[in-house]
């Protein structure tokens, strides 16, 4: 947005090591926010929280639900972390998620006949590609025209949303042409169940593999170094001949690809078909997750689990104390602000 060779003013979010006391303080503050609403509703926050934790972490059903939700959160969160690391604010995770799902679904007939693991892998690759194309577009617009990726990703979100709305009422609509959703995904392309008696599917394996791959990519390879350097100081990256523009486009491509992959995984593992706006705000939550993970791929899974606890827990809070689901968004906002505050205070302490 300001005149610098690649990107945003000020460089990407700081990647300082998390301080344990800062993390604890953020958790406490975050826990207080819903507590306020619970008290206002006339209920006891402690019983509500105990019920929340008992369900999400204490009961097998609850925990499996948490695991299920953590799958897309992990994948999109990884993607956001990669983009932010390069200084590109990819906040269009939701749109890229849906785009990937649509692309994979559209290509499904091609892969349905193939032997099982191969077809599924190709299906997922198509999902990645669907999101990646969007990401590459945004990245190109950013480096070639200095068009802010914040605005372009959000605008594309709304465009993709409309595209999905049309697709499930038009070309990909289910055979009876009555309902706003698509036909079912061919059986050979469904992600098998991982834990019997739950909704946890093999998407979890995909997510864990992705974490491993990206962690190695970021920490151990030259590409990862370039990514981080560009995010830290785009001027120095340029000076050093790191070809910062190319790095940014690749970062956006991978980032959006991960979101697209998440979308195709979600369809193949849970919904089994396309329907209206099923990204459930994962793209948004992924931003908070990536920031909490300090943009490090290895910290994304625990943070994704934490947010999955919030998601599932919100349902518990609704039952216990009538707290509406959007409380999760408030928590996301508070968490980010909390981290910003403690990060800034820690930074000031370091400088003095």
């Amino acid at each position: 947005m300001s005149a610098n060779p690649t990107l945003i003013a000020g460089g990407g979010p700081q990647m300082r090591k998390p301080l344990w006391w800062a993390a604890l303080a953020v958790v406490i503050v975050t826990a207080l926010v819903p507590a306020l609403f619970i008290v206002a509703a006339g209920k006891n926050p402690l019983t509500a929280y105990v019920a929340l934790l008992a369900y999400t972490l204490g009961s097998t059903n609850g925990f499996y639900e948490v695991l299920t939700h953590s799958i897309p959160l992990m994948l999109v969160g990884l993607g956001v972390a990669i983009a932010f690391r390069a200084g590109a604010f990819n906040i269009g995770g939701d749109g890229q998620f849906l785009m990937g799902a649509m692309a994979a679904f559209a290509c499904a007939p091609l892969f349905a006949g193939l032997p099982q693991p191969l077809g599924l892998v190709l299906y997922l690759a198509a999902g990645f590609a669907g999101g990646a194309v969007l990401g590459a577009l945004v990245g190109w617009l950013l480096v070639r025209f200095r068009a802010s990726e914040i605005i372009s990703t959000i605008v594309l979100n709304f465009i993709v949303l409309q595209l999905l709305s049309w697709v499930i009422r038009g070309p990909l609509q289910e055979p009876s042409r009555l309902m706003p959703w698509s036909d079912y995904l061919p059986e050979t392309l469904l992600l098998p169940n991982l834990i019997p008696g739950s909704r946890v599917h093999y998407g979890l394996v995909v997510a864990i593999v992705a974490v491993a791959v990206l962690a190695v990519l970021v920490k151990k390879t030259a590409f990862g170094f370039r990514l981080t350097a560009v995010g830290r100081n785009p001027f120095a990256a340029r000076y050093a001949g790191l070809r910062e523009k190319r790095v940014v486009v690749w970062a956006m491509l991978i980032s959006a690809g991960m979101a697209g992959l998440a979308g195709s995984v979600q369809v193949a593992g849970i919904h089994e078909r396309l329907q209206d706006n099923f990204s459930s705000g994962y793209g948004q939550a992924a931003i908070a997750i990536a920031l909490m993970a300090r943009l490090s791929p290895l910290w994304v899974p625990p943070m994704a689990l934490l947010f999955a606890v919030f998601y599932v827990g919100a349902g518990v809070l609704q039952r216990e104390a009538n707290i509406p689901f959007p409380i999760v968004y408030i928590i996301e906002g508070v968490v980010i602000l909390g981290f910003l505050c403690f990060d800034a205070i820690a930074g000031k302490k370091e400088a003095s």
Binding site: A222, F225, R232, N233, F235, Y239
Partner: protein
């Protein structure tokens, strides 16, 4: 000249953590006197001036202005008391006009509901006329030359009719020919009763304009004397102490060095429309140091950026020894081929400030198979290389895992030098490598460049310091308003002639 001093300082002390920037500094300044504060970079001059002008508060000591003890808590207070300071780095807003800059923050014209430009213009014109200067009120400041910007800055300070004017390194951005005009203005001001303090690390400035000089070293005042009373050598010895670092003998340049870079017809236009380079051509050969001189803003930065692959020229050819295609290879290609670049703005362009030294070292060595095997980083090798560099270049660092920000400026620059020279480059582009550093580090860096030159590398040295250039360069070329003069052998010309080139249109 009245006998009572205008300004008296006693025991001024200021600490920054463990750094004692000012150690019990004291002197007097008379009315209508021009006093010089002489000290090398890091001696404490700027800190002292910031104390006098109200920007910072001293930890100890007192200040009397016209006999009354004063302690300023803001520059505004100091300005109201009659002290005006013209900073080395101008405090002008580039996107605003001259008139707007002059009005900014001024209670008479700027801090009002409706800006009063007419009154401003008449008041400033009066001052400018008496000093023999022209002012273009409607011009955007970032379109002016640096010398013109300095005049705006000075006008802004003079408009408050200060009794004391402080000039911080005023000739740093002026050409040889513009200096006399500045000193004429200073003399006129003194004659009108305004006291002037000139801060500089250049002996010539002090000798040409001041009556008395205060010499500072390591935060302390080492001498207060009349300029006439001391010899040049005396002053130099006071300035740097007794252990003058010695430059290695230059030795004869390799006569028939292979041509490393041939530039022809380079032209560059800046985004704001002004011409940075016009039809620039030269050759750089092995085993020589080619100095590129010029007043800041005349195209030096742009030429450095073109040669290092960071800026594509609008026209012209670049033929490197490895690629005679005449095209414009980018920075990545150049580095792989053996071109290295010591950047002008180290903090912005050259380093990752918050990252560890190893990351900073690796930054420009990703093309080296030792550190990057098929895309896989070799951190152990990088650490070894950094350790070697740290010891070879005597870099003072708090530890092996230190971040770049924990090093002092001089040590950061030494590490940058170590990094750039570690790849054994054939072509070294060094942009103001010694700017702002202390004498020891300056000598170290210059010795390194000389050593590389003897080993057969070609060095393009962009510098504004003619004295330094004369000591180490073989040939010299000057950029003035985007046009190139030379290159010429240093032995075939004089500093005065080069100085004249720097102001030709």
């Amino acid at each position: 000249m009245a006998d009572a001093p205008l300004l008296q300082l006693q025991g001024i002390t200021k600490c920054y953590g463990s750094l004692l920037a000012n150690d019990s500094v004291g002197f007097d300044l008379g009315r209508g006197e021009v006093l010089g504060i002489l000290g090398e970079n890091g001696a404490g001059k700027s800190t002292l001036m910031n104390v006098i002008s109200g920007l910072i508060r001293p930890d100890g000591g007192t200040m009397q202005l016209e006999g009354r003890t004063v302690a300023f808590s803001s520059p505004r207070e100091a300005a109201e008391a009659g002290i005006g300071m013209v900073h080395q780095h101008f405090k002008l807003v580039g996107a605003l006009t001259v008139a707007e800059n002059l009005a900014l923050g001024d209670p008479r014209w700027g801090r009002r509901a409706l800006l009063r430009f007419d009154e401003l213009k008449s008041s400033i014109s009066e001052i400018a006329r008496r000093l023999g200067i022209e002012v273009d009120f409607e011009a955007r400041v970032d379109r002016l030359t640096v010398g013109q910007q300095q005049r705006v800055e000075i006008m802004k300070v003079l408009s408050r009719r200060p009794r004391l004017l402080i000039l911080d390194e005023p000739t740093a951005v002026l050409s040889q020919e513009e200096r006399p005009a500045l000193f004429r203005m200073v003399a006129e001001l003194a004659a009108q009763g305004t006291s002037v303090i000139i801060i500089s690390h250049k002996l010539e400035d002090i000798l040409d304009s001041c009556r008395r000089v205060v010499v500072m070293r390591h935060g302390r005042v080492v001498s207060v004397s009349d300029v006439g009373g001391k010899s040049r050598d005396d002053l130099i010895r006071l300035l740097v102490g007794d252990d003058l670092p010695v430059l290695r003998p230059k030795g004869l340049p390799t006569e028939e060095g292979r041509c490393l870079l041939r530039a022809a017809g380079l032209s560059v236009r800046r985004p704001n429309g002004t011409v940075a380079l016009h039809d620039v051509g030269f050759e750089l050969r092995r085993g020589e140091i080619l100095a590129l001189c010029g007043v800041e803003g005349n195209g030096q930065s742009e030429l450095v950026q073109v040669v290092t692959g960071l800026l594509k020229p609008d026209a012209g050819r670049l033929d490197y020894w490895f690629d005679e295609g005449g095209g414009y290879p980018d920075a990545a290609v150049l580095r792989r081929a053996g071109v290295c670049h010591i950047p002008e703005d180290r903090l912005r362009d050259g380093v990752l400030v918050d990252a560890p030294l190893t990351d900073n070292f690796l930054l420009t060595h990703l093309g080296n198979a030792q550190f990057n095997r098929q895309g896989w980083l070799q951190p152990a090798m990088v650490e070894a290389a950094v350790a070697e560099a740290v010891s070879a270049y005597a870099v003072k660092t708090p530890g092996s895992r230190a971040a770049m920000s924990q090093l002092s400026g001089g040590n950061q620059q030494k590490l940058v030098l170590a990094r750039e020279l570690a790849s054994d480059p054939s072509l070294i582009v060094a942009a103001h490598p010694t700017r702002g550093l202390d004498v020891k580090t300056i000598a170290f860096i210059n010795n390194q460049l000389l050593a590389r030159r003897s080993a057969g590398a070609g060095v393009l040295l962009a510098s504004a310091d003619l004295a330094e250039v004369w000591q180490i360069a073989d040939r010299i070329m000057v950029l003035s308003a985007g046009r190139l003069h030379g290159p010429l052998r240093v032995s075939d010309t004089t500093i005065q002639e080069v100085g004249r080139w720097m102001t030709q249109r």
